[in-house]
């Protein structure tokens, strides 16, 4: 075989790889995420009169029985309310805590700021259960076990790193010239914050809020240890069906309830972030 042939074959292989690789990855993702969701959907509609068992590929009979049961006879409605309330409050608290901290770490040349940047990520790497056991004792001692305050505190602890990390990077990457230009033209601190910092970190703020919200919505370990049994959220209800009294059908219903709002949030936020970032990224600064 001559040289030209080898080359053109190599080129063909590369082109094929270019198509096959993304396609293959996409397929894996679809299978990994799609199939469980599909099964959850199917399981949630199984009619308990006609159990779904091997070797049937699909349930024999579909009904809304499990959905009705979960909404009528469990604390799910209250838990959904709790979850959203907690996620909302946690996001606000994270925002209030993260904004000045991120500003200090990102814009001011503080001694040891690199050290603080690592410290602030620790809650992300600590195993939730390990942290929960000791934190639970502490919060119990403080008398906030089983209160909304206590749960918001632990949710803030685990979600804050996401918000902080994103905002610190945002603040760091803001050109000093822009800030100087604003003060040079007569802007005081409040105007600089409102008209320069805030619009520039808005994409990061949206992304951070999204991560915070979702983390809070899905947080189980600490919620369970600090909140149970007084405060239940969607995940604690979900886990209660996964223990000894394992009920796949009901767990499917609850997991879908947990999944759907997060999915919607992700899509909406992603749209928002993209358009905002385009503006900032393309501005020749």
């Amino acid at each position: 075989m001559n040289n030209y042939h080898v080359k053109s074959q190599k080129k063909l292989t590369r082109q094929l790889l270019k198509i096959l690789l993304p396609f293959g990855l996409l397929s894996i993702i679809i299978v990994w995420i799609g199939v469980p969701i599909l099964y959850a959907l199917l399981w949630s509609f199984v009619n308990p009169e006609f159990p779904w068992s091997y070797p049937d590929p699909f349930p024999k009979n579909l009904s809304l029985f499990q959905w009705e049961y979960v909404f009528k006879y469990t604390t799910i409605v209250k838990s959904i309310g709790n979850s959203f309330l907690l996620a909302f409050v946690t996001t606000i608290v994270c925002f209030i805590l993260a904004l000045p901290t991120a500003y200090a770490l990102g814009r001011r040349k503080l001694k040891g700021s690199e050290f603080f940047k690592i410290i602030m990520l620790l809650p992300m790497v600590f195993p939730g259960m390990a942290m929960g056991l000791f934190l639970g004792r502490m919060l119990h001692g403080m008398g906030v076990s089983g209160t909304y305050l206590g749960v918001v505190m632990v949710h803030t602890l685990v979600s804050l790193p996401y918000m902080l990390r994103i905002l610190v990077v945002n603040f760091e990457s803001m050109p000093q010239d822009l800030i100087d230009a604003a003060s040079n033209l007569g802007a005081g601190n409040w105007v600089k914050f409102k008209e320069v910092y805030l619009p520039m970190i808005l994409p990061g703020l949206v992304a951070g809020a999204m991560f915070t919200f979702i983390t809070s919505m899905e947080e189980f370990n600490l919620t369970f240890i600090v909140g149970a049994p007084d405060i239940t959220t969607i995940p604690t209800v979900l886990y209660s069906y996964l223990g000894e009294n394992f009920l796949r059908t009901r767990a499917s219903v609850v997991s879908l309830i947990l999944l759907i709002p997060n999915l919607i949030l992700l899509i909406v936020a992603e749209r928002k972030i993209k358009t905002e970032y385009m503006g900032a990224a393309l501005g020749k600064m």
């Binding site: 100087d180 230009a181 003060s183 007569g186 619009p199 520039m200 503006g279 020749k284 600064m285």
Partner: protein
């Protein structure tokens, strides 16, 4: 409205690095002054001290008779054009330009009037609602200029504003900047490392090196009479040779240099004194048969390279083992390898003591 700027004994250090040491000068109202020097010479630091972004350890900045040291940047009434333009990326051209007026609480009517005025002045009419990233580099530069001049500052500051433009545009914009500054009469400090730009645009050039002012002169003087080797070398190209004075009579000295014995017009040299001579390439004139008898300071050498530059023919001539650069007329028939003689008038030789 025009203001005198006085910089008095400014010291500024960053850690161990002395960025500015004992910098003093005065800029008369309405003057266009350039701070010129290589990168790291302290020129941008000085500009930032004047704008108030940096606090000097020692010395004073005065606008007129007001000491500005304790006045924060947003109260100084300076306006700066940044090298990066620093346009607010989330604001439109119009919003960018009126920013300074809003901060100064100028009435809406007045705002509209002045925006219209400056937009015409910098030729941006029709682009009001664009975002900065939708503009070309030249347009962004003009928005930055408009945003600065609209506030009618006491002092206008430029930090290498043209370095991101291509060469052709740079020449056009620097003329525009000069004309606008002239018509407004605002005292201006302009930072650049481009010596041609500095000569073309300024009333006064301040050459800086290692945090110190080396020379402050009008463009002609700084080019023709550089006070040190650094200035001679940094501005334009120069043939620099050490020399020893052997005779001094009237206002003419005879100096023994690397290029031979030269007659130099100088104010004060004593026999035996050592100094440096600076001779600009275009002041060396090749000698042909017709002008030979009248020539003084004749130097002879062989042409190593002849480089055709378009507007001149640059010769690199080997004289006593040293290379001399000569800028000859563009159609001079001098081939590489030939022997040539050339001359320089005594008053074209600049004597430098350091």
């Amino acid at each position: 409205m025009t203001t005198r700027l006085i910089v008095n004994g400014i010291d500024k250090t960053f850690g161990d690095f002395q960025a500015l040491s004992d910098v003093s000068f005065t800029i008369e109202p309405g003057q266009f002054v350039t701070l010129l020097g290589p990168s790291g010479c302290g020129k941008t630091t000085l500009l930032r001290v004047i704008a108030g972004f940096l606090e000097p350890e020692k010395g004073e900045i005065l606008f007129g008779d007001k000491v500005m040291n304790d006045v924060p940047p947003n109260k100084r009434n300076t306006a700066m054009c940044f090298q990066s333009y620093a346009l607010f990326p989330h604001k439109t051209v119009y919003e960018n330009i009126i920013f300074g007026l809003r901060m100064r609480k100028v009435s809406a009517d007045e705002q509209r009037k002045r925006v219209k005025e400056v937009m015409e002045m910098v030729d941006l009419v029709g682009l009001e609602n664009r975002k900065p990233y939708e503009l070309s580099g030249g347009q962004q530069q003009r928005v930055a200029l408009a945003r600065a001049i609209i506030v009618r500052p006491e002092i206008l500051l430029f930090d290498e504003p043209l370095s991101n433009l291509d060469a052709k545009l740079r020449e056009k914009v620097r003329v525009d900047i000069r004309n606008i500054q002239h018509s407004l009469g605002i005292t201006t400090v302009y930072v650049t490392h481009d010596q041609a730009e500095a000569l073309a645009i300024s009333d006064v050039v301040i050459a800086m090196n290692k945090g110190r002012i080396v020379q402050k002169s009008d463009p002609k003087t700084i080019y023709n009479r550089p006070s040190t080797k650094f200035v001679a070398d940094f501005i334009g190209s120069a043939n620099i040779t050490p020399g020893t004075c052997t005779e001094f009579a009237g206002s003419t000295a005879v100096v023994d240099s690397l290029y031979g014995v030269l007659r130099v017009q100088a104010a004060d040299l004593t026999p035996g004194e050592e100094a440096f001579l600076c001779i600009r390439p275009e002041d060396f004139v090749p000698i042909f048969a017709e002008n030979a008898p009248h020539a003084v300071n004749v130097v002879t050498g062989s042409v190593l390279h002849a480089v055709y530059m378009g507007n001149s023919l640059d010769l690199f001539v080997k004289v006593n083992d040293h290379v001399v650069r000569i800028s000859a007329a563009k159609d001079c028939p001098i081939p590489e390898g030939s022997q040539i003689s050339f001359t320089v008038q005594p008053d074209k030789i600049c004597v430098m003591k350091g």
